[in-house]
């Protein structure tokens, strides 16, 4: 039996999705200036981790993140939920990082965070949504992995996951340590309490650079990308349709169109 368990959760701090995104015209990458918040997709992993540690009767949740300019505001949200500490990687050489660069950095940061029984991620971030980071981290750390988890239990040191599939779900088992990506919406992330928010201010955030992690700057960011954007173009726009204010008879317009399309 595990007596307590340590869970690392990879979290991303992103521009508020309520603000429309934009590309930097110089670099054709997403602009990441302004205040960053905790990606909502990651709040489910944080909640899941806190519940697992609670059930295990000990251990702690450590956050790992990579962000420009030592940004911590999103991390503080997750610390206020109950995570114990964080490792934050910031380095100018990380600008332009793709998913593979990000994974290389996160994998090193996870190792720095200490012995972990389980590493959780979201299935994809809300701003970049490549969805390949969880498996990349697992491969870099040479660990087994289960993606798209809707339920996680630990049974006598064995990981048991209900994994989302096209048809329903699979029950998957794996030894620990392992990497698991958590599907959004499968748990109810707790709201940080006032006490939690106050406590989060003094929780340790280990701020590190690429040099601290022993990563060659030329292997990540723009330098290590191995891909280039050759064109940015306006996509073909849909022709605007008819927009009407419902006057109580709006449904009739729908019925007419359904008939026209021979749906009815």
């Amino acid at each position: 039996m595990l007596l307590g368990m340590n869970v690392v959760v990879c979290v991303k701090q992103i521009p508020d999705p309520a603000d429309p995104g934009a590309l930097d015209p110089q670099t054709n990458t997403l602009k990441r200036d302004g205040k960053l918040i905790l990606d909502e997709s990651d709040s489910y992993g944080v909640e899941m981790a806190l519940q697992l540690v609670d059930t295990a009767g000990g251990g702690e949740v450590t956050l790992v993140s990579m962000a420009p300019n030592g940004e911590v505001s999103g991390l503080r949200t997750a610390l206020a939920m109950g995570a114990a500490k964080a490792v934050l990687v910031s380095d100018d050489a990380l600008a332009g990082s793709d998913a593979l660069s990000t994974s290389k950095v996160l994998a090193k940061a996870i190792q720095r965070a200490g012995e972990a029984d389980l590493i959780l991620t979201a299935t994809e971030s809300s701003d970049g949504y490549t969805g390949v980071v969880p498996e990349q981290i697992a491969e870099l750390l040479q660990l087994p992995s289960v993606t798209f988890a809707k339920e996680i239990t630990i049974d006598g040191g064995t990981l048991k996951v209900q994994r989302q599939t096209e048809a329903g779900y699979d029950e998957v088992e794996s030894p620990l340590p392992a990497v698991v990506s958590v599907t959004a919406g499968v748990v109810e992330p707790r709201y940080p309490s006032f006490k939690g928010i106050m406590a989060a201010k003094s929780k340790p955030v280990d701020q590190v650079t690429l040099a601290d992690l022993g990563i060659d700057p030329s292997s990540v960011g723009w330098a290590g990308g191995g891909q280039e954007i050759i064109e940015v173009a306006q996509a073909e726009a849909r022709a605007g349709g008819t927009i009407i204010e419902d006057d109580g008879e709006g449904f009739q317009k729908v019925v007419d169109l359904l008939a026209e399309l021979k749906v009815i």
């Binding site: 390949v132 498996e135 491969e139 329903g168 392992a178 050759i230 940015v232 173009a233 927009i243 204010e245």
Partner: protein, 321 residues
């Protein structure tokens, strides 16, 4: 210069090749001289993929009961290392496709170009077209090194079409020792029963969002869907809220649908959602906020209360039938 050889990851259930695989095969054979598939499904798919233009099935054995990411990526990477690899590997943005792509990218130290909706030849190298900001902008990306290009292609980006090819030849592709990485095993499978047409195949989709107000009101979406023989769908917001299961989700994270008609009820049209339904032939939106982004892609937009419009619509349709 053209792309000489493309590998397509072929997914299959009970010997039937996934539509997404057939879609990618149609594009692959347009781009490359030689198209081959890599699969855990075995020789039984040789006739079907052959009819869609693949000349060879590279069968990866011994994967029974395993999650497929690690063994398939291991087999592909080993072949590339031995000098037998393709110019590019194409996979669907599926559960398995993403797992394979992530692991393979680390093994060959090459990036993945994701969320691709089109592929173009750029001076003999494949480039991927990826829509961003809900599809208003296209970004075209290509690799700058000679490494094998890994692409994740969104479902329904191409039309599946038979080429009339003969059954593909079958060759074994062996899996190297995976160490701990291959340790995850599937112990049982559960199929969630759903009635009516599936989201993927339905000609009409009726989807609901947060504008429905509360879980009980999703019944309006179900009722309308039933009347139209449509598949019920949902925005991420109400899936996250637990109103309906994840399998209902339309959007970037959920299913991509391209029905003849898409009806969005109480859905504002966040980027996340638009990406999954913007390709529908006709779109009807009902939303009380006249500024909602969903109206920008709608053929018919009703600015109104779904709680009033839907019951009247349902009543009118019931009266006709």
């Amino acid at each position: 210069m053209t792309v000489s050889k493309i590998w397509v990851l072929a997914e299959a259930t009970d010997g039937k090749v996934a539509t997404t695989t057939l879609e990618i095969l149609a594009k692959a054979r347009e781009l490359a001289d030689t198209v081959e598939v890599v699969t855990a499904a075995g020789a039984e798919i040789a006739t079907e993929v052959g009819a869609h233009g693949a000349t060879k099935v590279l069968a990866v054995g011994g994967t029974d009961g395993k999650l497929l990411g690690a063994p398939l990526a291991g087999a592909i990477a080993a072949a590339i290392e031995a000098g037998n690899g393709p110019d590019a590997v194409l996979m669907a943005t599926s559960y398995t496709g993403r797992d394979v792509a992530g692991r393979l990218s680390v093994k060959i130290d090459a990036p993945v170009i994701t969320n691709v909706v089109d592929l173009v030849d750029s001076d003999g190298r494949l480039a991927g077209v990826e829509p961003i900001f809900g599809g208003v902008t296209d970004v075209i990306t290509k690799f700058t090194t000679d490494k094998v290009g890994i692409f994740l292609v969104r479902p329904k980006s191409f039309a599946a079409e038979e080429s009339g090819g003969a059954a593909a030849a079958v060759e074994e592709l062996s899996v190297p020792d995976l160490g701990a990485t291959g340790a995850a095993v599937v112990t049982s499978r559960f199929v969630e029963e759903k009635t009516g047409p599936s989201l993927d195949e339905a000609a009409v989709v009726v989807a609901g969002g947060r504008g429905l107000g509360e879980k009980e009101n999703y019944q309006l979406v179900e009722d309308l869907a039933k009347l139209l023989q449509a598949a019920p769908g949902a925005s991420r917001a109400i899936v996250d809220a637990g109103w309906v299961p994840y399998s209902y989700q339309v959007g970037q994270t959920g299913k991509v649908v391209k029905p003849t008609l898409y009806i969005a009820a109480g859905i504002s049209g966040a980027t996340q959602h638009l990406v999954g339904m913007k390709g529908s032939k006709n779109i009807i939106a009902i939303n009380k906020d006249a500024e909602a982004p969903i109206f920008a892609v709608s053929d018919l937009g009703i600015v109104g209360d779904v709680h009033k419009v839907l019951p009247k619509l349902i009543e009118a349709l019931q009266a006709r039938s």
